[in-house]
Symmetry: C2
Subunit: 338 residues, 2 copies
DNA sequence: GTGAAAGCGCTAACAC
DNA sequence: GTGTTAGCGCTTTCAC
């Protein structure tokens, strides 16, 4: 069957300890011995059994990434970066999908698979601050992503939502727009991205001395292209005058973009549009979409640094950390001044 | 520390064997005993150590999904379905990215992580039939996805590429187009999606009695929005007359769509366009994109069935299988007859 | 510098 | 029906 460390030891005429030493780069091994072992490994095509190693060491080299779903390009691109970054550190990534459902998130967090990973990157959508107790009880190292849970019992990394949204709105104001729709507010969401981005929108208006018009606050339940399109359609039907749109993510923006263009509105001349996330696809729409780049690379880099610090115990006594990444406003055709 | 089966046994006042029996749904246990064990498990919040179980049983409950990358919406959506389907069977999914590079694919296939999974779904892009020997040597159950490797030593699932492409082309012919661009041919690719889809294109032309014009075969190296846009721009510069485009995937189609519209061409009136893959985003472009739905659900369902059959040994002696899924042509605005 | 042996937590053959 | 025990393949303490 598949060779074990004993087979290697026998072939190299050493003990299994020596084989183990070679594999783990133990320093004091005679070069000749090491070479014999390496040759034996190669000739048997030996691969260490990771379950056995995991049992012994308590480490599996696996981290879990829990996200709502991969159909959402934001999370797909996030997962892409996580997988790359993790692999660079010799870690593999298990992807689990919650569909944004609280029940599903809970069962993933307490499920047996948690036993198998050294750490978890968790992008919560259903859980909230009320679940902090449960979160605190989880032993597996964990870093929270996103804004559902702030000031929780775990390390947390996300973007500067308020400032990002403020910058997006200010950008539209800067190119002369005054009747700006906030597309994506969601009263049901409580604290979370929607609330924070709405806050940034308001700050920008206030700063520019523009009075907020409730007619321009458009709810979008679930941030997809379809819901963005539906909400925009309903908004257009109301006949409210507007000249700019801050969409709270790119998917909404794309759905709205299509509906506005169908309705004969010209973007950016009639309506300037800016999104959030900078997913890849918005570079090639017509017009291309201005957006806020949330600094995904930085999010992943910091999150993984926090996580590995917890995993190897070097940050064991550090209280929960909070990191806010810097964003970038990316101007494209959808907000080009006339 | 974390409780073990011994702690549970002590608390429930039974032996570890009984605890193990309860967990594995062994039939002959007195209900009262079973309940005591279950209570003990609950009160200790006991979770079986999966490394130990994996060491003992030789099974980890993990499958690996090797794809080029998650930035590509086709693979992100495929991964989404794989994760869902695997979870429904109690399996977890490890995602690894190859970037389509042969070297990276090879190192993933022989790397230590293979030791940790019960099976592999492998969407090859760099490997080819020349690597069949290597593939044959791999013990881990494996199913190949896509068309890089046909008639290989492993089970294989993909769509009917030739027929799909033929249908797409025939559809354009059916709405009166005669000068149809094949966007995505790639002579370097040898056998593979590009060659098969080109073959389908040719069949449809032949069937309709349209002579092939080499000027209408446009290479696209790497099937992204950007390369689709670049290739279309170069093609437009050549001033060749055309009235239809069969793009070999949706990303190419979207890049080309933008460039054509920038150039003042109207889709579908001037040029009808059809893509391949039916990724989610093409529903909300303007115009929405007609495309070939490759039957991803079926691909995943069959692939996972093949894989689990190999994993549990029930199909151990079955020779490599080949399954071609049925596709669907989805007509949207980009090919609406005038 | 290398070997012998214990033990990580679990499953399953075998005993009772 | 339930308990005892060996052993999966590895790392690691302790000898030598």
């Amino acid at each position: 069957m598949t060779p074990t460390i004993h087979d290697v030891a026998r072939l190299a005429e050493v003990s299994i300890k020596t084989v183990s030493n070679v594999m783990n780069d133990y320093p004091h091994i005679r070069p000749a011995t090491r070479q014999r072992v390496l040759d034996a490994i190669a000739s048997l095509d030996y691969k260490p059994n990771l379950s056995a190693r995991g049992l012994r060491s308590g480490k599996t080299g696996l981290v879990s990434l829990i996200i709502p779903d991969l159909r959402n390009p934001y999370f797909a691109e996030l997962a892409d970066i996580v997988v790359r970054a993790a692999e660079a550190q010799g870690l593999s990534v298990m992807v689990a999908q919650s569909n944004g459902q609280r029940e599903r998130e809970l069962s993933l967090l307490v499920g047996p698979r948690m036993q198998m990973v050294d750490g978890v990157l968790f992008s919560a959508l259903g859980l909230s601050a009320e679940d902090n107790d449960l979160l605190a009880r989880i032993r597996t190292p964990m870093v929270l992503l996103g804004e559902r849970i702030l000031d929780g019992p775990k390390d947390h990394v996300t973007m500067r939502n308020v400032e990002g949204s403020e910058a997006a709105t200010a950008h539209l104001i800067g190119i002369g727009r005054r009747r700006i729709v906030a597309l994506g507010s969601d009263p049901a969401q409580g604290l979370g991205s929607a609330a924070l981005r709405l806050e940034g929108y308001r700050r920008a208006l206030r700063h520019a001395g523009i009075e907020e018009d409730p007619d321009l606050l458009v709810d979008v339940i679930g941030w997809y292209r379809r819901t963005g399109a539906d909400s925009m359609r309903a908004f257009l039907d109301r006949g409210v005058d507007f000249d700019g749109v801050v969409a709270f993510n790119d998917q909404i923006a794309l759905g709205a973009l299509r509906v506005m263009q169908e309705a004969g509105l010209h973007v950016p001349d009639d309506v300037a549009v800016i999104g959030f996330d900078d997913v890849d696809e918005v570079r090639y729409t017509l017009p291309s979409l201005s957006t806020i780049d949330p600094g995904r690379e930085e999010i992943v880099e910091v999150a993984l640094r926090y996580l590995t610090g917890r995993m190897d115990g070097s940050d064991a006594d550090v209280p929960p950390r909070d990191h806010l990444t810097s964003f970038r406003l990316i101007q494209r055709e959808s907000t080009t001044p006339a």
